[in-house]
């Protein structure tokens, strides 16, 4: 039985701005894709007209806001190739075809009042959605946020004021000089749960760091893999977990770190 129809919807560009070097914030109006949206879930965006580029790009929900009774949503993305370059050229009023929401997002437990969020680079995109939601639920949230260099960090004004933020840069141009995972041992014992998004190398490093930390906090990470469909039909985004092969798009993208590394 058809319970909710999945179809291409027309999203209207509300605004587009470059928020740090090569990173764009795109606000969209598309109520059907706001319904069921949650931190860690994603949408597929068609990044071009015609059949080239062919495949939609998966993008995490980055932020939500209420405007005149409507929930608008945003994505945050880097310009990396043809698709994202096309996306960065859309202007207010332009239309973008999209479908979703897809995947299984972050799952903060009811009793987890202290949340540690860890973001590396563009991994900040879904982490902010989670921070906004967790703060609205009255949880206490600390964010460890790392990037290669200061120009790739979002400015502090971008974040809610109730959020504690600790910055790290690999070149030392802002905050802790080193990897964001270096900061984890000092903060994890306080946390009831931790949520992570960044490159896979960061997850591997985090798993190493965690072996030396005494904490019962469950760690959830958001996986990324090349996808064709986003809906569980192409089997392109398989990741090999301790529990067997899993589809990032359908079984994830949120996974328990302990199942991966």
């Amino acid at each position: 039985m058809v319970t909710s129809e999945l179809r291409l919807e027309e999203a209207v560009v509300v605004s587009q701005e470059e928020v740090c070097q090569d990173t764009y914030l795109l606000w969209l109006s598309c109520p059907p894709l706001a319904k069921g949206a949650a931190p860690g879930r994603f949408v597929m965006l068609l990044c071009g007209e015609g059949f080239d580029p062919l495949l939609p790009r998966p993008m995490s929900y980055h932020r939500f806001r209420q405007v005149g009774g409507e929930t608008q949503w945003a994505i945050l993305y880097d310009v990396r190739g043809r698709g994202t370059r096309w996306l960065s050229q859309r202007r207010p009023g332009d239309h973008i075809w999209a479908f979703g929401p897809l995947g299984r997002g972050f799952a903060p437990e009811r009793g987890a009042t202290n949340l540690l969020l860890i973001a590396g680079g563009l991994g900040i995109a879904p982490i902010i959605a989670l921070a906004d939601a967790a703060l609205a639920q009255g949880r206490t949230v600390t964010l460890l946020y790392g990037a290669k260099t200061a120009s790739k960090l979002l400015p502090p004004s971008y974040f809610p004021t109730d959020l504690e933020i600790v910055f790290a840069t690999e070149d030392g141009s802002h905050g802790h000089h080193g990897l964001v995972t270096d900061l984890v041992p000092s903060f994890l014992p306080w946390a009831h749960q931790a949520f992570v998004c960044g490159p896979t190398g960061m997850y591997r490093e985090l798993a190493n760091v965690l072996r030396g930390v005494s904490s019962t906090a469950k760690v959830q990470v958001l996986m990324e893999e090349h996808m064709a469909c986003g809906t569980g039909i192409c089997y392109g985004c398989t990741t090999f977990t301790r529990k067997g092969p899993r589809l990032v798009c359908r079984d994830g993208p949120c996974f328990a770190l302990e199942d991966l590394y």
């Binding site: 179809r7 291409l8 080239d52 939609p56 090349h226 996808m227 809906t231 089997y235 392109g236 985004c237």
Partner: protein, 307 residues
């Protein structure tokens, strides 16, 4: 307007499609994924993901590379194996109105025969599609390129099942017409033309091929190539229906394939871009036929082949 398509028949159990729009193997999961997302019962048929004798985890990453209007994939037949398909999936398929064609892939004649024997009589399985043309497993193309081998595997399957047998051919067989003739003589009830084209991309920053051992190219880029193959085989009038499969992305593409001699079509890669694409192809085809005053689908099948 009659748009039903019959496959098989010939005195055995046939497969009647309510319309000519099917979904291609590997491009629709096992149907279960989309069951709640749109009305899949409207499709002509669903072809399952490739089923093997034993479970397979499939190939390592990277599995996908986007190319101009195309996609190279190297999934490697990730699937749960025929035993679990029969236990877990077929009972669900059996409750659907849309017929499900089980796509099977073996490494030997014996494996194909065993797969066919196990699936024969399984409620929920309406036909078999023999994948003798997967480029992403070792020797996957062996059977598809040699007419005697293709005939041998078809005959072995034929002996093990009363289900309609569809053979999915490779677009890179050196002599596709000879392969088609051989499998029809060996008892094939229909031909799917064709599978993906073996292809490769290079990651210039690491100087490595992607996928690591190449993969199969699909999508709009291959449509003109496969369309020609369909017309070549259709001209031979082998007496079995041809199912066109290659880059069909719009209803116009489907009409082209039908006019080139296909009796039905499979929609594949475009579903990754638009989940409703198979239904949109069907809807567009229906209104085209209506507009043109065509009463029976068979009137346009092969219309572009001439005398």
């Amino acid at each position: 307007m009659n748009i039903a398509v019959e496959i098989g028949g010939r005195g055995k159990r046939g497969l009647l499609l309510s319309n000519p729009v099917m979904v291609a193997s590997g491009c629709f999961g096992n149907g279960i994924e989309f069951r709640r997302l749109f009305d899949i019962d409207r499709l002509g048929a669903i072809v399952s993901k490739g089923i093997t004798l034993r479970p397979r985890q499939g190939n390592p990453q990277p599995r996908l590379v986007e190319t101009p209007a195309g996609l190279i994939n190297s999934i490697g037949l990730q699937n749960i194996g025929v035993g679990r398909v029969i236990k877990e999936l077929a009972p669900i398929w059996a409750t659907w109105r849309v017929p499900v064609v089980a796509n099977i892939a073996g490494e030997s004649v014996e494996e194909y025969a065993s797969l066919a024997a196990q699936l024969d009589g399984t409620p929920g399985v309406s036909a078999l599609e023999l994948n003798i043309s997967c480029p992403n497993v070792e020797n996957g193309l062996e059977f598809a390129c040699h007419p005697p081998l293709a005939a041998e595997v078809t005959a072995a399957v034929r002996r093990c099942t009363a289900l309609p047998v569809i053979v999915k051919l490779s677009p890179v067989a050196p002599n596709l017409v000879a392969v088609a003739q051989a499998v029809v003589e060996a008892g094939a009830d229909a031909l799917t033309i064709a599978n993906t084209y073996p292809a490769l991309a290079i990651d210039i920053w690491s100087a490595r091929p992607v996928p690591s051992f190449g993969g199969g190219l699909s999508g709009p880029a291959i449509k003109p190539l496969t369309l020609r193959l369909v017309s070549e085989v259709a001209r031979e009038q082998l007496g079995v229906p041809i199912i066109g499969c290659g880059g069909i992305s719009t209803w116009q593409d489907a009409v082209e394939y039908l006019m080139a001699g296909a009796s039905a079509v499979q929609v594949g890669t475009i579903t990754f871009r638009n989940p409703r694409a198979p239904l949109e192809v069907l809807e567009g085809l229906e209104s085209f036929l209506q507009q043109q005053g065509i009463e029976d689908l068979s009137q346009i099948v092969g219309a572009a082949l001439g005398s």
